[in-house]
């Protein structure tokens, strides 16, 4: 089964306001789709719908060609979502945080993998400090370490570049590209301008109107 997330005639109405309607979107293996739009245009809501958190939409979602409702479990097992908040506990160490995520995915997890993932995001030496003592950017990196740690093909990232320094941004961009080269796909919102690459596309959400694919 090839990796494919499809949205057909997607529409979302929040409190009598249409955030978007008639939005068709397809995400294939090897692609990065960047969702653009001004503040309040529904980018985060779209990402929440496409990551299966929000059931309050019209239209249809398909995962690998099957309706989302029926394959939700399989979809979630393939998804890695990073939201606005990093999802990292301040009182736990980075290692403990990652261990919980591994267990949440259903596996026991391996300490070496966690150390390697933390080293890859530049947190070697910080593994055993409470995360709350790290800077905002470093806490963000703990969350990003999940990208290294968990072999999930579909990444849905909401503003992943927030609070990260220049080197970190470059490293993250490289990581996204490497992920698509390995056959993964990425759905991302960001105000940061991404480096042009083969699989990069943009979807623009307008003021209360439909989505336009560019």
């Amino acid at each position: 089964m090839s990796l494919r997330l499809q949205a057909r005639k997607l529409a979302c109405e929040r409190d009598d306001r249409w955030l978007f309607h008639d939005l068709d979107l397809e995400l294939h293996a090897g692609e990065i789709v960047r969702v653009e739009g001004p503040n309040g245009s529904g980018k985060t809501t779209l990402l929440k719908i496409l990551s299966g958190q929000l059931a309050d939409y019209r239209g249809e979602l398909f995962w690998k060609g099957a309706p989302m409702r029926r394959v939700r479990r399989d979809f979630l097992a393939n998804l890695l979502y990073l939201g606005h908040a990093p999802g990292v506990k301040a009182a736990l160490t980075p290692l403990e945080n990652l261990a919980w995520y591994q267990a949440l995915a259903g596996g026991a997890g391996d300490e070496d993998d966690r150390l390697a993932a933390l080293a890859a995001v530049g947190l070697a030496g910080f593994e055993d400090l409470p995360t709350g003592q790290l800077s905002a950017g470093q806490q963000r990196r703990v969350a990003l370490a999940r990208l290294e740690l968990m072999p999930r093909p579909l990444w849905v990232l909401d503003e992943p570049f927030t609070a990260i320094d220049r080197d970190g941004v470059a490293a993250l961009e490289a990581r996204l590209e490497a992920h698509t080269r390995r056959g993964g796909c990425v759905l991302v919102t960001t105000h940061h301008v991404l480096r042009a690459s083969a699989g990069l596309r943009s979807v623009c959400l307008g003021e209360g109107g439909g989505g336009v694919e560019r």
Binding site: K48, A55, A85, K89, A91, A103, L104, A105, A108
Partner: protein, 222 residues
């Protein structure tokens, strides 16, 4: 199963690292109990007659006090979103969190109650029943309260609202919990009371996790 055990462990570790959150409800319990003799009368006979109800009400309020934090920190740091997106069943994960809440709030309150019972000259022979009824009843309180906590976690000022939602639902547990202690004092059988508390817990165990899961899904999109 791995995920549920890991969530249990994670929440236990988190609470044990912030010990004040565990201790505060216990101190609150002791303080409220101290207020009554001061506010009413130090007369041991009078205190003995109202002790079962006082202990139960104070314990119930102490448990309520700690509920607001049950999902709040997870909501604020984004862990709750991740919990909802795990391929594991959400009611089971929510149940794990509630279990930790009971272990570190309800159970310590139940163990502490007999000590405060002495201070209220609770008649002998009812101490074990007091602890037992509180241990059993507070599990229902945690489950029912978690529904309210899940419904209000997305609201910035959910605390007072939470007690408004949850307290009416606590009344049956209070009636049979305090009733068990009263019955023990009067020398009547307590097994019926404890059985009803157990039945309430069973109902709560079956239904509450689904309600908590549904409420969390609502709150995350607030």
């Amino acid at each position: 199963m791995v995920a549920i055990r890991a969530t249990l462990k994670r929440d236990l570790v988190l609470l044990l690292r912030r010990r004040s959150e565990v201790l505060n409800p216990l101190v609150f319990f002791a303080l409220v109990i101290t207020l009554f003799p001061i506010g009413i009368s130090p007369d041991p006979e009078l205190l003995a007659t109202i002790a079962p109800g006082l202990l139960w009400v104070a314990a119930l309020l102490a448990a309520l006090l700690s509920l607001d934090g049950l999902f709040r920190s997870d909501y604020e740091d984004g862990s709750l979103e991740q919990l909802l997106l795990s391929p594991q069943p959400l009611p089971a994960l929510a149940l794990a969190k509630v279990a930790v809440h009971w272990l570190l709030t309800g159970l310590p309150l139940a163990l502490m109650a007999p000590v405060l019972g002495i201070m209220l000259s609770l008649p002998a022979g009812s101490y074990l029943v007091l602890a037992l009824s509180l241990a059993l009843g507070s599990a229902s309180l945690s489950l029912i309260g978690a529904i309210g906590a899940a419904l209000t976690v997305g609201l910035s000022r959910g605390g007072v609202l939470l007690s408004l939602l949850v307290l009416p639902l606590y009344i049956p547990v209070l009636i049979f919990g305090a009733g068990a202690v009263q019955a023990a004092i009067m020398g009547a059988g307590v097994s019926a009371h404890l059985a009803i508390l157990g039945a309430l817990l069973a109902v709560a165990l079956i239904l509450a996790p689904w309600a908590i899961a549904a409420s969390l899904r609502i709150s995350i999109n607030g």
